[in-house]
């Protein structure tokens, strides 16, 4: 017990406790902020200045997935488009099964590329007015959602978080120790 009566030991214990408290504090406060950003990926970024919530990236991905399915269904009868439709199907599957935000981002880019390849092919072969109308609708969904994702404000939120929260000392060091999950860019 005499060890605890030494000044140096007391100082070490104090320092350890302070660091522990800091780590726990960082984990709680920064972790909460990071979780909030991830929530806003699903529910939409809250625009404090405008006072409303912007369309969420997650909702746009769902709409893109549905539109891609529509494009696949339109290409069904045309054997020449099978390869392109398969590429869309594969990209869509990847998007549906992607877990992390970065994986979803990659899958979304692949889906956009596959759809961009399929849409002109469909435009060339479709003759039925209903199908042409459906194609326009699906293509419109793809382009509109791409624009909404760009203006969703999510990446700006992540950027702000990384530079103004994680970039500041001592959080810049402690967040790794605290095991805070950093939100990925989309």
């Amino acid at each position: 017990m005499s060890v605890f009566s030494k000044r140096s030991t007391a100082a070490v214990i104090t320092v350890v406790l302070c660091v522990l408290a800091l780590v726990i504090g960082v984990r709680r406060s920064v972790g909460r902020r990071a979780a909030d950003i991830l929530d806003q990926f699903e529910s939409g970024v809250r625009s404090e200045t405008a006072g409303y919530t912007l369309p969420s990236v997650s909702a746009q991905l769902e709409a893109r997935s549905n539109a891609a399915l529509g494009l696949i269904s339109l290409s069904g009868p045309y054997g020449d488009l099978t390869e392109k439709a398969d590429a869309v199907r594969e990209a869509r599957e990847a998007l549906l099964s992607a877990g992390s935000i970065s994986a979803r981002s990659e899958a979304n880019a692949a889906l956009a590329a596959a759809c961009d390849a399929l849409i002109p092919g469909l435009e060339a072969v479709l003759t039925d007015p209903d199908r042409i109308s459906a194609l326009k609708d699906y293509a419109g969904v793809m382009s509109n959602t791409a624009r909404l994702i760009e203006t969703s404000g999510y990446n700006e939120l992540v950027s702000d978080f990384r530079s103004n929260v994680l970039g500041l000392f001592p959080v810049s060091i402690l967040y790794r120790i605290a095991g805070v999950a950093v939100p990925d860019y989309f």
Binding site: N66, G70, D137
Partner: protein, 331 residues
Amino acid sequence: MKKRSTAVLLTALLLFIFAVPSFALVDKSDSFYVADCAEVLSDALENRIISINGELEYYCSGSQMVVVSVDYLDGLYSDEYAMTLFNEWGVGSREHNNGTLLLLCPNENKAWLTYGSGLDSLLSSSKVNEMFDSVFWGPFDSGDYETAVDNMVSELVGVYASFYSVSEEVLDPSSQQGGGYDYDDGGYVPYENDQTVYSSGNRMSAIIFFLIVVLIIYLIIRRADRLRYRRYCGAMGYGIRPYHWWYLFWGPHLHWHDPRPPRPPMSGGYYSGWNHGSHQYGSHSGFGGHSSGGFGGHSSGGFGGHSGGFSSHSGSGFGGGGHGGGGGGRR
């Protein structure tokens, strides 16, 4: 020579078979709204769906609700199969794209609901999955496909009713009569005494409502009378005396006239008082002060829900032609 020609014929046949797309969609049924290829639905339910569709097309801008059951999905995911059917058949109004297609494949334990993009504001994948979880998968997994579809149809009727601000009873005439489907009997059977239950229930609530209103009015009048009684006791110099409920009808203060206090001066304090007989009572209040008595308050509120705020479309878009937007279910 003969063998060679046989081989050529066989090869040609095989090529033909494999050249045909690997999956074949089911054909539209005569009624269009129900294609029970797996034969899991009763005639009664099919008739109900057809009947609902008549109302849907009339009241909900050409909306259509199609139910399809198939034996196998031919290697496709149910979402793709449903979407392809939706687009092939052109479910819903071309203008409003407001159709829904429920696909079920009992043999593969799959089901999917595809809806047109015109319903995007009300339906989403999560909402559809919620509907599946709450009313569909339970009976479906236990093999009761009839109930599963019946439940889902009711849910969809609710969705359309909410979207187009139409009563569910209007869209689903069978529910108006207060009956149900007795599948053992193979048809719709109105519940006995159902109407009586509804009417006695309505009468009871009306009586309770009336009693509550009367009670509130009584309490307000009683409170006013009690205050008047206290003023009366004060004016008479009786001090504080208990107030009994019958004073409202036979109280000693009933024939007493409460003199109105003089009007306060335009500014500053005012004198308030009254006299009765030889007694004179009064009180001064300070500058600017006054007492505002009385009672009352207000009751705000009322009854009524809201219908979600969706505007209903006018005009019609019959003839079908919608294309799938979203969906949910088990792929």
